[in-house]
């Protein structure tokens, strides 16, 4: 009980760090921001870090001898150490900054997949992959001749691990799985998947876009070979994300993009690559976003990732209890009481998700409606679309009540 009370107190304090939460939408209705799985809001310290960079030390990195460039380079490099520490990597050598999770997936797919895969090989994905992984590996399969297999999702939105054990065989070279589903909220057994992959000498890629923002992640404990996340889903800016890669793999792998900064020595005949992680960061990087992402990591660590996880879980449980009041509303994913993130996809009978979202918007409630970049999963669910409310550290039970009022209103309109 004490934990819950202190969490509730904290939410009000944290909300002050997010001025956007004070705004209204439509006809002066307070905003209820429940689209956090798409992007989270940005706290003042992160915004300040971006402004501070432009006010004080805007300069290109790794190129100048002058003081501004030195300050920018040091801050940018230190941000890699910070994010490496945030997900349990050994150091900056294992932390590549990318644009987002999608680019992290593509980096490995192009740099490793195109070079290592061929006919007779197999890639294993899950039916609940986001398109960022699904489409990427599907296309790599087409280009290399490698077969793509999918671990089935059961009726409770969990991976069928028996099926996984059947399809991960010695032909498999890569298993790429979403850690936390952006639709079902399911927390997948990443370590078990890693063990399964390694038993067959395959690599494992974890998509942490929906995990890193809301729970402690330790890539070494998960024993993954690659792990990706996006900054803008964890209180950071857009345009920046991360790729953890096991050092020995990153060392051997070919580069993804060529250009400046990723080289050590260039001659007319050949080029030697820069050391890790810069080998994978061609061109002028996302300097202030990277620096601000480190501040976002500080912000989340100060609150405590385990407390954020618990807060999201409690809100999702409360929302599920309230939604259970309606016998014509289906909620997808693990049942009440089972572990899940703060993502809640649902449909009300006879109300299309887009109509639901339009009506909820009148109540100030921002949700996502559609297929959430998971069209194959929606085929498995038997729905073309779903409505999705997703919670974060600054959301409250009162806001969930507003969501429920909005759903009641939609049901009245469509009754």
């Amino acid at each position: 009980m004490e934990a819950r009370e202190s969490a509730a107190l904290d939410v009000q304090r944290f909300r002050e760090d997010f001025p956007i939460l004070e705004r209204t939408v439509g006809e002066d209705v307070p905003l209820v921001y429940f689209d956090n799985a798409a992007t989270t809001q940005t706290p003042e310290p992160v915004v300040d870090a971006i402004v501070d960079y432009y006010h004080r030390y805007n300069a290109n990195v790794h190129r100048g001898i002058h003081q501004l460039s030195q300050e920018a380079s040091e801050a940018y490099e230190a941000a890699h150490d910070r994010l490496a520490g945030f997900v349990g990597a050994d150091g900056r050598e294992e932390m590549v900054f990318t644009k987002n999770t999608t680019e992290s997936e593509n980096l490995v797919a192009y740099a490793w997949g195109l070079n290592e895969l061929g006919p007779g090989d197999a890639i294993v994905l899950t039916e609940m992959e986001h398109h960022s992984s699904f489409v990427t590996w599907q296309q790599i399969g087409k280009r290399t001749g490698a077969e793509v297999r999918f671990i089935q999702v059961d009726d409770d939105g969990r991976l069928d691990m028996e099926h996984a054990a059947e399809i991960v065989d010695d032909d498999v070279e890569m298993v790429s799985a979403v850690h936390v589903s952006n639709v079902l909220g399911t927390v997948n057994p990443m370590r078990d998947l890693a063990d399964l992959a390694h038993d067959h000498d395959a690599l494992i890629f974890g998509d942490g876009a929906q995990a890193v923002p809301n729970r402690p992640v330790d890539v070494k404990a998960l024993d993954v070979d690659f792990y990706a996340f996006s900054g803008h889903k964890m209180c950071g800016p857009t345009g920046i994300g991360g790729l953890y890669g096991r050092e020995e793999i990153l060392r051997d792998m070919e580069p993804f993009l060529y250009g400046g900064d990723m080289i050590e020595k260039v001659s007319f005949e050949e080029t030697r690559w820069n050391e890790l992680p810069w080998k994978y960061e061609a061109g002028t990087p996302l300097v202030e976003q990277g620096i601000a992402l480190a501040v976002a990591a500080d912000y989340l660590d100060d609150i405590g990732l385990d407390r954020i996880r618990r807060h999201e879980f409690e809100l999702s449980q409360y929302a599920m209890e309230r939604l259970a009041e309606f016998d014509d509303v289906d909620v997808y994913g693990p049942p009440l009481g089972a572990e899940r993130s703060g993502v809640l996809a649902f449909n009300a009978e006879g109300i299309h998700a887009h109509d639901m979202s339009t009506i909820l918007n009148d109540h100030g409630v921002a949700i996502r409606a559609g297929d959430h970049c998971t069209q194959p999963l929606h085929d498995v669910m038997g729905e073309a679309a779903s409505a999705r409310a997703s919670f974060y550290l600054y959301n409250t039970r009162d806001e969930v009540d507003t969501l429920i009022e909005g759903i009641e209103h939609a049901r009245e309109i469509f009754a």
């Binding site: 006809e27 299309h352 887009h354 339009t358 009506i359 073309a384 309109i413």
Partner: protein
């Protein structure tokens, strides 16, 4: 600022629940499919032209989607029966919005105009003016 809930007037809900011209035509002159990929809305239309080769004699649609896309399909298929293909090409999004009779919020315009695009693209493919597999309003 348009209130979204105001879109769901009785006429819209009536056409959503009881769509006119819902189903299919046997041996249509042309059939065409359109979708809103972001919404998951999908509409298939069958059009039967009269012997003059240009007058829409019969029309049917099927598919699934939100209230706005389905109501627009119901209303517009009623409207185009008896039109020539030339008349059909003249239709623009304001005609569809007028038929709906409500102010459609900006994010939902693409739902409203899906049926118009599907009917027009289907006719253009039939007449050999364009090549297209599926119409998309996204």
């Amino acid at each position: 600022m348009v209130s979204g809930s105001d879109m769901y007037r009785q006429q819209i809900l009536d056409h959503y629940r009881n769509p006119r011209n819902y189903g299919e035509i046997s041996n249509p002159t042309y059939t065409h499919v359109g979708e809103n990929t972001s919404c998951g809305d999908e509409i298939t239309v069958d059009v039967q032209l009269a012997d003059d080769g240009e007058t829409i004699e019969d029309v049917a649609f099927r598919g699934e989607g939100c209230a706005i896309s389905q109501a627009a399909a119901s209303l517009l298929t009623d409207e185009v029966r008896g039109m020539t293909l030339g008349d059909l090409y003249e239709l623009d999004r304001d005609d569809v919005l007028d038929l709906l009779g409500v102010e459609v919020t900006p994010m939902r315009i693409k739902c409203a105009v899906l049926i118009e695009k599907v009917l027009q693209d289907g006719a253009k493919i039939y007449e050999g003016e364009i090549e297209l597999d599926t119409t998309s309003t996204e």
